[in-house]
Each structure stands twice: as C-alpha cells, then as structure tokens.
Symmetry: C2
C-alpha cells in the first residue's frame, strides 16, 4: 500500500505530465499553422478568417513573436473572461450548462473539503487503532487519516454520521438551486430564441396504413379533422438508406479524385495511375483521374435513378411525418396529448430541431420499439456483467501451450520467436484496450438500435449505459476484487444487508487506488484533451493531401464537440468518488477539487475556441446529471451504513437509515418540481411567445417558413424544379409559389451577399438569429454532415448547376 | 396434516353452511316485507314502487304463494338472464366490468384445471418419494398428488416447467384480450354517453395566490389568456368543512326528532320526554319534541351565519377550481398539458364526475401532497409489517400476572371470576378481530390523507393497500410461519436467491390450509354476502323507529354498492392462489373454480337487484386488476424457481428465468398499449363527439348547462335568490339569466312532472340519459349523501321554501 510519500511522488509525476501537455499545447496553439486546429470555433462563427500574425511567408507557419512564448499560460485567464450570457450566445446552452456541472462540483466540494479536512482528519488520526499493526505492510499513512483508524464502537462515529447528514443536505441544497437555475435558463433560452421550426412542429410516428390512401393523405386528413384551427402543413419522411449509401460512396471517390488531381497539379509531368484490381494492388493499370471521374459519373447516374425511385414508390414514404402548426400553442397541445383511441398509433412528440433528427429511426413501429428496448436492456446487462468473458477468451490465446494443443498445425508459426513474444506480451492487454476503446461506439450503436429519434437523446442514452459500465466495473470492480460477473454471483447469494457491508469495509483501503486513478485518468486526461493531438495530425494530413481550395481547408477542420457520452459518465464517477470518500477518507477530496478546477478551465477554453456543437438540446441532459448525483448520495449512505455496521457502531444505523429515505423523497420532489420543464412546453410560455410574435410581425408567412424546415436532408441536393415537384408530391396543399422564397434563386438577398463574401459561410450556424427566410439556404451550408453542393461558392455564375449530391459531406456525420 | 378425507368433510360442512345461507336468502327474499332489502335497485331505477303480491293485508308482509317456496333457487337463472349491454345500462360499466373479473377467472382456470388435473396428478402420484415416510404423520394424501411427491432430479419436472409456460401464455393471452375488450368497452361507454359535465370540465389545483386579486379572477384571467378559444367558465371551490359538520349534526337531531314524533303519534296520550344531561341519563326532564325543534332552529340560524361567512370571506375560497370549456377537445387538451412554467402550479386533471368528487382534498398544495405521500407510504409499510406489535401489546394484557404487577390497584377487579375469564379467553382474539374489522376503514382514511381527489381513486388506493396487507400477511404469512416483521427481518438477512427457495419449499405443504381458507372465506363469505344480514336488520329497525312517509322508507333503504376496497384484493388473492398452485398442487384448483362460479352468480344477482353504485368511474380499476394478476404470475414463477432449486432440478432454472422476463415485458407492452385509454381522453374521440353534438344540437346553451354542474353540494340547499348571488360572486362573467334554466322554478318541465309522479325521484340516478337541463335538479335528489331538501316532495305547493340544509343526507356519505 502506498504511503503519503508515494502518493506525493505519483502526484508529482502526474502534475509534471499534465504540465508537459499544457506546455506543448501552449507552444503549438500560437503557431499560425495550427490556428485552425486550436481555434476552429472562431472560423465557424466568422470571427476569424485567417491566422493572426500572418505578416510574412514564414510567419504564416511559425510564430516568430517571442513575447507570446513567455506568456504561454495566458489562455487560462482568457478562458475565464467570457460571461455566461456571452457564452450561451457564442456556444449554445448545452455547452454553458455543461460547464456549470464543473462549477457545481467546485461549489459542492470546496466547503465539504474544508470541513472534512478540518474536522475528520484530527478525529481519525487520533483514533489510533491501526498503530499496533505493522506499519509498512498493511497500513499506509493514508489509512491513518481515514475512518479505518477509529476504534470500533467509538462514539466518534457520530461525527461521521453528522457530517454525512451535513454533506447530504449541502449537496441537496445546491442541487435544488442548480436544478431550478438550469430549468429557468432553459426556459429563458427557449423563450429568447427567435422563431424556430421546432417550436411549431411535432413529430408524428406510427401513422396507420389505410388501404387506398397514401400516408400523406392520412396525415393531412387526420390533423385537419382533429386540429382544425391549428394544423398548417406536414412534411413526409422518406426511406432513403440506399441513396445515402451511394452518396457516401461518391464522396469517398471524390476524395480520391481530389487527391489524384492535387498530385497531378504538383507534378504535372506524370499523370497518376491506378490498378483496378483488389485494393489497387493488381490488375490493369489505368489513368487514375479518368478512372475516378468515370466512376463519379456512373454514381451520379445511379443516384438520379435511385432518387426518382424514392419519389415514385409510395413504399418509400415512411409512416412518420413532421406536422407543423400555425402557433406554438397548437404544437404544444399536439405534442402533449394522446391523439388516437389506439395509443400505439399517431404517437406525437416534440420534433427535435432539424439538425438533431436521427432520420433512420423515424419509421420503427411501436411493437418493434418495445422488443428493441427489451433486447438492448438485456444486452447492456450482459455487457456490463459479462464483458470479461470474450476478453478472457482472447487472453486465453496467449496460453501458447493450450493453443498448440488445439491447433498443432500452428506450431511452426507460434514457435517463431517474434510471434511468440508478440502473442505472450502484447495480445492479452491489447484485447482489453481495444474493447475499452470501441466501447463508446458499441454503446452508441446499441442506443441507435433502441430506436431513439434525436442525436441528443442517443448521446444521453449512450452516456447512461457508459455510466452503468463505469459504476460496476470501475467503482465496484475496483473496490471488490474479482470480475463484475463474480461480484454479481456473490451479490445474488448474499443477504441484501450484507452487500453494503462487503463493499463498505473495503472502501477505505481503496482510497490510494482512486487517488492514483484521479491523477492518471482525470488530470492527465484533461490535459491531453486540450492538446487535441489526433485532430492536429489529421488536419495536417488532410491539408497536405486533399486541400485544394479555401473551402476544402474549412472542411478539413474538425472542431469536434463536447463528447457527452464519454465525458458525462466520467464526470459523474468523480462526483461519486468525492461523495463516497468525503466522510471515509477526506484526503482524497483535494485531488477531486484539482480535477474539477482544471477540467473547468480546459473545457471552458475548448468550448470558447474549439468545439462546435452538432445540435442544441437546451440542456436536456440536466435531469440525468441531477439524478446520478442523487444516486451517488444514496450509494455513499448505504456504503457508510455497511462500513459502520462492521465497526460495530450498529446503534447508529437507525440514524443513517432515515437519510436514504429523505434523499429519495427529495429526488422525487425535484423530479416533480423541475423535470416537466425538460420534457414539456408549458402552454403559458407558448401562448406568451405566440402573442409576442403576432404583435411584432403580424403578417409573416409561417407556412412558407415551415414547409421546408424538416425537408429530408437529401432533398437539399436536388434541382430547384425537382424540389418543387417533390413538395407538390408530398403535400398537395403546398402552394408552389413558396419557392420564390428560396434565396439563392434571387440576386439581392442577404444570403446571396453572404455567399459572395470571402468568409466561409459557416457563420450562418447559429441560425436562430437569422431572418426566417434564410433558413433553407443556411441548411445547405451550415452542416458539414449534410449532402450539400460545395461547388456553389466557386460557381456563383451558374446558380442553377446544383446537381451534385452531398459531395462534401464529411464522413463523421451522416445521420441515417 | 389433513388427508383427502378430512378435506372432504370440511368441504361438506362448508357446502352445507353456504347452502344454509342460500336457503335463508331464498326464503327471506320472497317475503314482501324484505322486498326493499333484496331488490332496492328496482325501486331506485323506478322499476318497482311497492312489493309484488300485495293483494291483501297479510300478503303485504309474508309471502303466501307456496309455489315460490318450491322454486327458491330460481334467482340463479334469473341473475344470468340479463345481457351485458342491458347490465351496463342498468347498473353502469363499473359493475359490468367487475363481473367480468369473475368470468375472466373462470376462463383462465377452467382449462388450467382440466389440463393440470389430467396431466399433473398422474405424474405426481406415480412419483412416490413420499411413500417411504410415515403416512399419517407427515404427509397427507393431498401431498401425494402434489409436486412434493416427485423424486429430486427427476426428469418429470420438465412437465411442470412446460405447464408453467403453457399456463403463463394462456393467462397472458386472456389478459391481453380482456384488457383490449375492457378498454374498448370503456371508450364505447364514454362515447355513448350523452353530454356530461365531466367531459367539458377540468379540475385545476394549486392556483397561485396573487396579492390584490381573488382566486376567481386569477383563474378567469389565466384561462382567458391561455385557452382563449375554448375557455367557458369556472366554478370556485369553497372550504366548508365547518358547515358540513353543522349539517351532519342537524341531521342527527332531525333523526331524533322524527323518532320522537313517531312515538308521540303512536301513543298520543304520552308526550315523549328527554333528560338534557350527559347521554340523556341525568339532568332536567324536558319535552323531547320541543327540545329537538328548538335545537334545529338554533342550528338553522348558525348554518345561515356560517354560510354567509363562507360567501363573504375570501379565505374560504380554496386555490382550486373546476374550469369548463366549450368543447370536449378543449377540455381534453387542458387536462393533458402542462399549463405553467412552474409545474407545481396550475395542475390540471380531468374532473371526476360531480358525484365522484371528494371535495375536502381539493385544496391540498403540491408540497404537502409529496410529504403526505411519503408519510402514508411509510405508514402502510409499517402497518403491513408491524401491525402485530400493538396487537401483541393488547394481547399481553391477558397475561394477568403481568397486569397485576403493573397496576396492583386493579387486582380486586381482575380477580373477579367473570372479568378474569373474559380477559383471558376473549380479549386476545378480540383485539385481532377488531383490528381486522376496522382495517379497511383505516386504509381508507390513509388514502384520504394521501390527498386523492375522487372517491373512485380513494377506493382504488385503499384496495391497493389492502392487497399488500393480504399478500404479506395472508399469503406469505401463512406459508412462512412467523409474523410479517420476523419475515422481513429474515428476508433482509437472506440472499435474494434464497428467499424464493425458503417460500417455495413450504408452498406444497400449505395447500390444505389454503383449501380450507377458500372454503371458509370464499364460499361461506360469498353466501353470506347475498343474505345481507346487516342491511336487513338495519332496514327493519329504521322502518320501525324512523319511517313516517314513503320517502323516509326510500331513505331507509341502503342498497350499498360493490365494496371495491375489500372485494378486489380478496379476489386478487384467489387469482394468486390459483396461479401459484396450478403446477404445485393442482387439486386446489377446483375449489377456486367453485368460488369463482358462485361469486359470479351472487354478485350478478346483487348488481342487478341490490347495489346502487355511488359513482361511475368507467372501469378505471381495470389496470390494477391486470397488473395484480401479472404480479401473481411473477410470484408463481419465482416460487416455482425456488421450489425446483430445492428439488435439485437446477439445470432447469435457465428455462424458468426467461419466463419472468417475458411476463414483465408483456406487462410493459400492455401498459403502453392499453393504459392510456384509462388515463387520457384521445383528441380523436373528443373531436368526433364534439362534431356529432354540434350537428345534432347546434344551438344548445353549454354555458348554462355547465355553470352549476360542479357547484359545491352545499349550494344546492340555498335559496334561489342567494344562489344567483353566489354565482355572480364566484364568476363575474356569469349572466344572471341562466337561472331561467333551473327547472324547478318553472312549471312545465320534465323534472317537474317527475316530481309530481308517485315514484320516488331516485330514478333520475343514471342522469346521463336525461335531457341536459334537468341535471341540476337531479343533483338535488339523486344523492342520498348530498344535503338536499327532502321536504320538496311533500311541499310542492311551496316550491320556494327550500331553505333546509341537507336534512336527509344519510350518515354514510359526506364527502368532506
């Protein structure tokens, strides 16, 4: 076991490591060549169009200003400068509230740390049970400062119990205030937004098939009957998975074409060639540029055909639709009420904002959804508790004797020295590493299979699954040795009152482990987050191989976003550690504090300068954060109960039993009090906004504004003529004259002037602040992951030549 | 342990007992003097005004027709004659669906019984483990037919597992069909009803206090703003608990007055007197009639004052209101949506129908509701698990030595022989009996404290609590010996996998006990239900002492209603027993079948001839019935799992583990599929009914119809002039001319003609079938538990003399 000195050394190493990362970051970020890696947000919002300090040729790549090297830590105060209101305008409410989790952590743990250190350390240290044990073998100095050091049956345990009460009340008080604050921030944010399509639109699923009637007709008919005063129009949802696959393929080939063209430009003497066979390794040698050009033409033809098939085949219309209303009130009513006698038909929900929609899951029928949920819950359970089984299987391969026995023909290969050492030394660890690396992806795929309809919800679900995994395998798994499966087995065969005792008794001993964990995973992890090593390398590679125009360079920039599915669970784990160890081993708390403070600085910098959220859910994740912290409180209370019962302080248990009950009822109260703000849209708000709108803009054409808001991303790539045809096809009430509003057909419109400006059009991103009639246009530009025509910028002289399908949609973002 | 022969004897005794009850019933029911006890429903619906066979004087009291004595069992076929549609019209949907629970029981258990007896009995009987044990000591013949008789590790257990699967699927199949059927019956019932106030009305609670503004103003303002196209009017809720107490007191004195007046009429030579002191035992002797008349005058004056205080004091208006809309659609929307930013204010719910409202709970604020729920859940938990503690305390009084030690001065009393034998022999049992007798009342009071707002919901909650009590104390308590508290202690200190094993292993041994239980509690209980001994005695007592007029006789009739809080839980216990024992000891099943068949017949008779439901909830209790049967399935699966694991058939457990998961997901599916029909009112339905109404009666004055629908029962006793004043007071938008619609001001209206008809006005009960403008009038008559003026019938020449407060409200029904 580690002594205080060992911890000190470890802390020093980790602090040095984190410091090295920060130093590297400080040096790299001031190089103009890396400007698009470390400040992409400013390019996107239009605050910056080229690196600063670009006075001469060398200055374009390397920073020659010595002064900036000396002030290399000045990003920290810079990160703190922006006020919260500015932050919300700059990066959205999701990011601002995400940062509030860290300040909440600081608010909770700073007073707890002070009180715990001042009160508990003297009480624990003077207890002295452990002094008679051999110091260097069993007990570390850390343990002497922990609750283990107190005599059994000691009256001092009442101090611990009192502090547990105090800390619980303090945490609940802050949680209550914070929940109220976030809820009102959310409502204010929603209220302060200008007109948004999502406010008027409801997603309807499970539209019943009526023979002899199209889905569109059914929808139209149903809502005209049942919402006669409020229904405006609807947009059908098409099944276009095959089309999307073709678009992705075309995009890949376009990249190869770009690469070869660039190569040819740089070495005009030698035309690039390519072999047509397997992986370009064998087969006939052909001219690469011609080859790819031909392939692209081929794909274009297939895309046209596929598109026409989708439009003509009634089966490609899925039984779902985005239904728009003429007021927020009408939409709020429709989203919150049951429509049909059969509650599995005509399911209505708030529509997620357009960029948040996960199109592929819109058509899952009700029965299938139930089955999927069941299957996925079972799989998550299996994954959490039995994930070691496949890994142990892979690891058993490293048992070379066994392997040779099973497959004797492999003996010559295995006996080779290189192979043998590789298998024995590398493989076992590799399997686990690979598993942990792909775990978030696996969880995300599971969430997708579960059938959620918004990206934000998918991320929340994946995050919940990851949290369960961490709770069982990192927290419990570290405390109780043995795999999760063994724990499960043990728990099932133990009395329920025995479980907290088993875990509780080993908690103090694991404090040193968790301190190391916080330093390695927390401190160093956060420091490496700010360095952005992977995006840095990829950006420069892309820059070298693919970038031809300024627009390509914009594309090569990958700002990323807050990675909720991974960040939230690990954050919640730190809350759990802090709350559990607050009364047990308070010496752990300062390490948590350092983590929260450092992470707050780093993420504030990243949110301001780097990240570009893919969607805005208006802090919809807060209820999850809240309930996980409540769960942490409950876990800590149960474990303390178990720990104290092994300390024979059994008389005190009735005191502690009351605490979980109080905490649970606090949670229930908060749920009733605040959660509706995150699930429903109060009619009072909707009506107030409606009236405000009606007074300020009485003659706005809402129908024109809403008609295309939820147009399937695929249609954004169609020709104007066809688009009108599509609209008529999907909604017969559509007046064709609305296409007049499409800005890029007409010269003097705000967005056309935007197009001709030298800045990349990405600052149309926060489209809530734009006049409503530019929305459709923005859609074709603001999303890297939408199939839009990137030639438009260079080819403004031919505005009708928009017949290209999503050639620049980047690989990361297809939502189907 | 009982042998098959013992069971047979016991069965015979119980059959004879039940038969005696039935015989007594058959004889009593054909006596004309008992006609109002056994056929009150027909009097209420107006189908009968006087007993049949009333040809001569004697025939009025005793049945002289010998033929009817020979066909004394003919109530059974009569009870089966009425079709379900007629039944719904006659007794309401609640009763019809209540009877369906019994047919569901028959449908589930008839095939199960046949299969189980044919398949399992041979398999179990030929097993023969138990033959080597001493027959008469440990093992009964019943056990030889049960699963206990099968060898451990036998392959035969797969038959049991297979049958458990089969029975589960069969039960789920029937449950699914029945749920769908009941849901559609409910929607049809709601759709087939004529205009009802509840369809247009929403109950709003937690109206915020705004200083300088009355609650009525706030409500009016809020709904005019947020539901401008649909809001019609609202009715305030007054706090009149004190008034109600006075009304109850007046009613009690009125009874004494009636009694004394009757006494004087019968013996005109002697005026009845009364002593004014304690309990009428001491004090001055006064003339009783004068005394009570004076008291009533006194009370009338106090009532007038109290009423005026309520009307003038703004504090007597509670922060709740019944808000009415001009369409069902508007009300459905308001009931299902969130109104305010703060989700604890402006809570909206469907209004229960007027006679279902529990007025007293309307004003409970949100925070208090949460606290009440927590406190009551803890109390129920304590009641279920620790109820033996106070009883054991009372029982310990029977330990006379202990009592004498504690209170030596009691020695002379205790040593008296009579007191001693009473204390020792009677008291211990008495304490338990009294507890069990008052338990339903206690549970109902708990539910009232919990703050539910409708009588129907109160009954459902009380029923749920009673079910938990029965499950723990009757089912588990009989299987595992020891008090519930000891069980709880044992379970907390056992591994979770050990619990089903502990219970499972004792299940087969308890079969004989439960067979006896079914016969005593089920068969004899049901047979005594039909005899109506208590109402019979009370009716004749009232008839003798209080009845002066025909109307008094109507009042003395107490039809009662289906006692959901007691009947549903015991019914669910029988389902549990049947399902648990189906594979374990199938010989128990025929006894259950007899119970279901007999109970079906009896309750069908009672529903047709006796019961008069106090409210109509449109089968709102069905989801509870469904989920309790599902819970029974789960319990049976877990117990079988435990039982088999003690039989070392551990290899089969994976097979059985799948079953609870499947059952649970079936339950979840059903919940999603059907439950909304019981909680929400689909907009499609509301709109269809609205359109239908608009077409059939385009010019109905809805506002006049709705204004008084939820008028507090107290106002029904006011003078007309004051009533108008009240209405203006509570709702300034009210046009005073609506009082023109009140029928009993005006001669030629349908209800006025009803009044002059000789039949009691109670057949206005199913008021959904009445023309809408008679509703208010019906309200003053159809509820025994409303304070209405019973003089009106006799005093038709003075229709304005309605200044009497609820003199005839019976004691059972005050809802405040």
């Amino acid at each position: 076991m580690a002594t205080l000195g060992d911890i000190g050394v470890s802390a020093l190493i980790n602090i040095l490591g984190a410091f090295a990362f920060l130093l590297a970051f400080a040096l790299l970020r001031i190089q103009p060549i890396n400007d698009r890696v470390y400040f992409p947000k400013w390019y996107i919002t239009g605050g910056r169009t080229s690196p600063r300090n670009s006075r001469n040729f060398v200055g374009k790549f390397v920073n020659l200003n010595l002064w900036t090297y000396l002030t290399f830590l000045n990003w920290m105060p810079q990160a703190l400068k922006m006020s919260e209101t500015e932050l919300i305008n700059h990066a959205g409410l999701d990011s601002a509230v995400f940062l509030r989790i860290y300040t909440l952590g600081l608010k909770i743990f700073v007073p707890i740390t002070i009180v715990a250190l001042l009160v508990l350390i003297p009480i624990n240290a003077s207890g002295g049970t452990l002094f008679f044990l051999r110091k260097d073998l069993v007990v570390s100095n850390i343990d002497k400062l922990s609750i283990s050091n107190v005599h059994p049956k000691s009256i001092r345990f009442f101090v611990h119990i009192g502090l547990e009460y105090l800390f619980t009340f303090w945490t609940c008080f802050l949680l209550y205030k914070e929940y109220g604050r976030v809820a009102s921030m959310r409502l204010n944010f929603l209220a302060s937004q200008r007109r948004r399509a999502a406010q008027f639109t409801v997603l309807v699923r499970n539209v019943p098939h009526v023979s002899g009637r199209s889905i569109s007709d059914s929808v139209d008919n149903f809502f005209k009957t049942n919402h006669p005063d409020h229904y405006l129009c609807h947009q059908a949802v098409y099944n276009f998975n095959k089309f999307a696959k073709l678009v992705r393929k075309r995009e890949r080939i376009q990249n190869w074409l770009d690469y070869n063209q660039l190569k040819f430009e740089r070495h005009p003497d030698k035309r690039p060639t390519k072999k047509t066979g397997f992986l370009g390794l064998c087969g006939e040698k052909v001219d690469a540029i011609e080859f790819y050009k031909k392939q692209i033409n081929d794909l274009d033809r297939r895309l046209t055909m596929e598109r026409q098939r989708i439009l003509k085949d009634p089966k490609s219309i899925m039984p779902a639709a985005f239904v728009s209303f003429n007021s927020r009130w009408g939409a709020a009513v429709c989203a919150q009420t049951q429509q049909s006698k059969n509650p599995t038909l005509w399911l209505t929900n708030w529509a997620p904002e357009p960029r948040d929609v996960y199109w592929k899951n819109l058509a899952i029928p009700f029965v299938s959804l139930s089955v999927r949920k069941l299957v996925i819950s079972l799989s998550v359970f299996a994954l959490v508790f039995f994930y070691m089984i496949p890994i142990a299987f892979v690891q058993s391969l490293a048992n070379l004797e066994g392997l040779e026995k099973v497959a004797p023909f492999l003996r010559p290969v295995i006996e080779m020295k290189f192979v043998k050492s590789f298998l024995q030394g590398f493989l076992p660890g590799l399997a686990l590493k690979i598993f942990l690396y792909i775990l978030p992806t696996v969880l995300m795929i599971m969430s997708k299979i579960e059938g959620h309809m918004a990206l934000s919800e998918l991320e929340r679900r994946a995050s919940a699954k990851y949290y369960y995994f961490m709770l069982v395998n990192v927290f419990l798994g570290s405390i109780v040795t043995g795999t999760a499966f063994e724990q499960l087995h043990a728990f099932l065969h133990q009395a329920p009152t025995q479980i907290p005792r088993t875990i509780g008794v080993s908690i103090p001993m694991k404090a040193t482990f968790f301190i190391t964990y916080i330093m390695v995973d927390g401190w160093a992890g956060i420091a490496s987050e700010i360095l952005r090593l992977k995006p840095l390398v990829i950006f420069h590679l892309k820059n070298m191989l693919l970038v031809k125009t300024e627009r390509d360079r914009v594309k090569a920039m990958n700002p990323g976003s807050v990675d909720f599915p991974e960040t939230l669970p690990s954050l919640q784990l730190y809350f759990l550690l802090g709350i559990v160890y607050a009364v047990v081993t308070p010496i752990l708390l300062p390490f948590i504090l350092v983590f929260f403070a450092l992470a707050y600085l780093v993420y504030r910098h990243q949110v301001i300068n780097v990240y570009n959220q893919r969607y805005e859910s208006a802090a919809a994740f807060w209820p999850h954060v809240h309930s996980r912290i409540i769960a942490s409180l409950l876990i800590s209370q149960l474990l303390l109960l178990g720990l104290l019962s092994t300390k024979k302080a059994a008389n005190s248990t009735p005191l502690l039993v009351a605490l979980p009950i109080l905490t649970l009822s606090f949670h229930k109260y908060c749920k009733n009090r605040f959660e509706p703000a995150f699930r429903k849209y109060p009619l009072e708000e909707a009506m107030a906004k409606d009236i405000e709108d009606r007074n300020s803009e009485p003659d706005v054409n809402l129908k024109a504004y809403l008609t295309d808001a939820y147009l399937h991303p695929i249609f954004h790539s169609f020709e104007e003529v066809e688009l009108t045809e599509v609209r008529v096809d999907k909604n017969q009430t559509q007046i064709p004259s609305t296409s007049v509003n499409r800005p890029h057909n007409h010269g003097p419109s705000p967005s056309a002037s935007e197009l001709s400006s030298p800045s990349p059009p990405h600052h149309a991103y926060n489209y809530e602040n734009q006049p409503p009639h530019t929305l459709i246009h923005q859609y074709e530009f603001d999303q890297q992951n939408y199939p839009v025509n990137h030639y438009e910028v260079e080819q403004q002289q031919q505005p009708y030549d928009v017949f290209h399908y999503g050639a620049d949609s980047s690989s990361n973002g297809y939502r189907y």
